[in-house]
């Protein structure tokens, strides 16, 4: 079968499976819609969290980015996994014991303040909407490249399928589709990685392979990474494995970005809410272990894929005559993801670190998407990669849409505006809100505002600087007051948002020379987070302590046991 035939078959089969699962496990109550009735087993929730967390960015873009960054790619690898330790130790079991349905609800109840609740709702909606727009765009792009339809058509197909299972299925439907999507995406990521590892180094396990010796060619018997470092040096790039050398990010910036991504991960509402779906606090701890375990399979493979892709790409193209370039090069040239400009007119591709001499332009996204073709893998693997990219994007989009809908129906309508609303009306409003959100996300996916890429830094920065400190203080400090929490959140948000907006939209120059302490906008969330903590603690010490009801609430969530 052709590539296109395989892609249609595999994408069609997986979509049918998701729709079937969503229909079978559809939600009938608000508890089912928001938290899947709290009956999800720890291991299933771990898998669902994995799919919920790993987005189009993790699946399609991350390995490619690492491929160009070398050591510095660590910011994503540690940043997007280390946060689970914080989540497991500081938040998940306690939020589960708190019970109820949403993250803003904890903020509102713990600080006895509608203002704090509304600030938290606005942050939750903003962070989630930013993210979901990126996912819908990812869906459109995968459709356009692999199924040869227009991006718009791809986005509309994505909207219809997400609409069906998020709006009808609610959290129950989403959870079990995410379990299926995890399985699809991990196979789609691992199969090409294993095949390429076998091919280059003879090792089945990619995590071992990229530290092993090359088996064929002029460099046979030498370590892969050592060879890559040497090739990079010869072509004028910084060594792949080296840290603070020419053009790479500084230590302070790597530290700040990694910390911001870790803390941001632990503060993302769509991840936190997954821990409301398990049976009790104990299950929340084990579920965090399963989640990180399932995520680690992809995250420890990604740096291997990055190394293999870099070696293969340079080997296939550098010094090759343009006329004799491999077939995948010509087919991907049409997408604009890879391009050749013959600066010296010799007809030979020169890939160099020096921009004046470099003739090859490569976008990071190509590294995962074209990997199976570069390695000459069979057509069904290429179809599987398309299905995997879609699984990653759709599962994340669904989780985010649920946060948006519950923020509107539960935290705004039920808790603030219409307090005696019955269960059936709330469920109806939740579905309407989810429907609006998915359509709005589709529109943004079709007509992406120029700044979509830039606002991603916001999502993590704001989650780090707004939620994380007030959640941690709300659990670990009895003395933190509502005034402290509100002042802390506002300080964190204002500092982080204005720094990012200034450097992304207004500043003439954005480089280490002009940044505060050399910290880039991507890393400023960690500064906002620290300031949020300091202001919240400081203001709390001047304001009257929380009520005895709040003390009782905090003392209750500190003890595990059945909710």
């Amino acid at each position: 079968m052709s590539i296109l035939g395989w892609t249609y078959t595999l994408v069609g089969l997986t979509f049918g499976l998701y729709a079937f699962i969503a229909y079978m496990s559809r939600a009938k109550t608000t508890s089912g819609f928001y938290v899947a009735g709290r009956g999800v087993p720890a291991i299933a929730n771990g898998m669902a969290t994995g799919a919920d967390w790993m987005s189009a960015a993790s699946f399609i873009s991350m390995a490619g980015l690492i491929s160009f960054m070398g050591y510095t790619g660590t910011i994503y690898l540690m940043g997007w996994t280390g946060g689970y330790v914080l989540l497991a130790l500081l938040l998940a079991p306690y939020l589960r014991k708190f019970g109820k349905f949403t993250v803003p609800e904890f903020v509102g109840d713990r600080y006895e303040s509608q203002v704090a609740r509304i600030v938290a709702v606005v942050c939750a909606i903003f962070v989630s909407f930013t993210y979901v727009a990126g996912q819908m765009r990812g869906v459109g792009v995968v459709f356009a490249r692999f199924l040869e339809v227009r991006v718009e058509t791809g986005v509309i197909i994505g909207v219809v399928i997400v609409f069906f299972y998020a709006v009808v299925g609610g959290m129950r439907g989403i959870t079990y589709t995410q379990v299926a999507q995890y399985v699809v995406l991990i196979f789609a990521f691992m199969i090409p990685a294993i095949a390429i590892s076998m091919d280059l180094t003879g090792h089945m396990i990619p995590q071992v392979g990229f530290g092993a010796e090359i088996v064929e060619g002029p460099n046979a018997g030498r370590f892969l990474l050592e060879t890559l470092d040497e090739v990079q040096r010869d072509l004028g790039f910084p060594e792949y494995t080296a840290a603070w050398v020419g053009g790479k990010k500084s230590m302070v910036d790597v530290f700040a970005i990694t910390l911001a991504l870790m803390v941001g991960t632990a503060g993302l509402p769509h991840v936190l809410v997954r821990f409301y779906t398990v049976k009790n606090a104990r299950a929340a701890r084990w579920s965090a272990l399963w989640a990180l375990g399932f995520i680690a399979i992809l995250y420890t493979t990604a740096p291997a894929v990055a190394t293999f892709a870099r070696v293969n790409m340079i080997q296939a193209l550098e010094g090759t005559a343009y006329d004799e370039a491999p077939a995948w090069f010509t087919s991907w040239e049409k997408t604009g993801l890879i391009g050749f400009e013959d600066k010296n007119g010799d007809g030979i591709i020169a890939y160099r670190g020096d921009p004046a001499l470099n003739e090859l332009k490569v976008e990071p996204d190509i590294m995962v998407l074209a990997n199976p073709e570069i390695a000459n893998l069979p057509n069904w693997v290429i179809g599987l990669v398309a299905a995997g990219g879609l699984a990653a994007a759709l599962s994340t989009a669904a989780g985010l849409l649920l946060v948006i809908s519950s923020s509107v129906s539960h935290d705004l309508m039920k808790s603030v505006i219409w307090k005696d609303m019955d269960d059936a009306s709330e469920l109806r409003i939740a579905r309407i809100a989810a429907a609006f959100a998915v359509i709005a996300a589709g529109v943004v996916g079709i007509y992406p505002p120029a700044y979509v890429a830039q606002v991603v830094a916001f999502a993590f920065g704001l989650a780090a600087a707004s939620f994380f400190p007030v959640l941690v203080l709300g659990i670990f400090s009895l003395r933190t007051t509502k005034e402290g929490a509100i002042a802390g959140m506002l300080t964190g948000i204002v500092i982080t948002a204005s720094y990012i907006v200034y450097f992304k939209f207004f500043a003439a120059e954005s480089s280490a020379d002009v940044w505060l302490f050399g910290i880039s906008p991507e890393g400023i969330g960690s500064v906002g987070m620290v300031l949020n903590f300091l202001v919240a603690i400081g203001v709390s010490s001047f304001t009257p302590p929380p009520s005895t009801e709040v003390r009782a609430l905090v003392e209750r969530i500190r003890l595990p046991g059945e909710a």
């Binding site: 790619g73 540690m78 996994t81 050592e226 494995t241 990694t258 104990r282 003890l559």
Partner: protein, 83 residues
């Protein structure tokens, strides 16, 4: 449960957290970032050691930390009869 017993459960929990978060900090920021250059003079097979910690080892350590946490807390829960 008496409030004294609840307080000593909480102290036991905080001790577990403090130990594990210290390891978390050293494993990620220490081995993966602050000392990466120094560690790179050693190697683990074909990996410079600092590079390995930053792109592989730290992630394995995170998984182990959560495992130790879940096991340890199960034991403390049983000891205090709160599980």
């Amino acid at each position: 449960m008496t409030s004294e017993r609840a307080a000593s459960y909480w102290r036991a929990n905080l001790r577990v957290m403090a130990i594990l978060l210290t390891v978390w900090f050293f494993a990620s920021f220490g081995l993966g970032i602050f000392w990466v250059e120094w560690l790179n003079q050693f190697s683990l097979g074909g990996f410079p050691l600092g590079f390995w910690f930053s792109q592989q080892g730290s992630i394995y350590i995170f998984v182990v930390l959560i495992f130790v946490y879940a096991r340890w807390m199960d034991r403390i829960d049983a000891q205090f009869g709160v599980g």
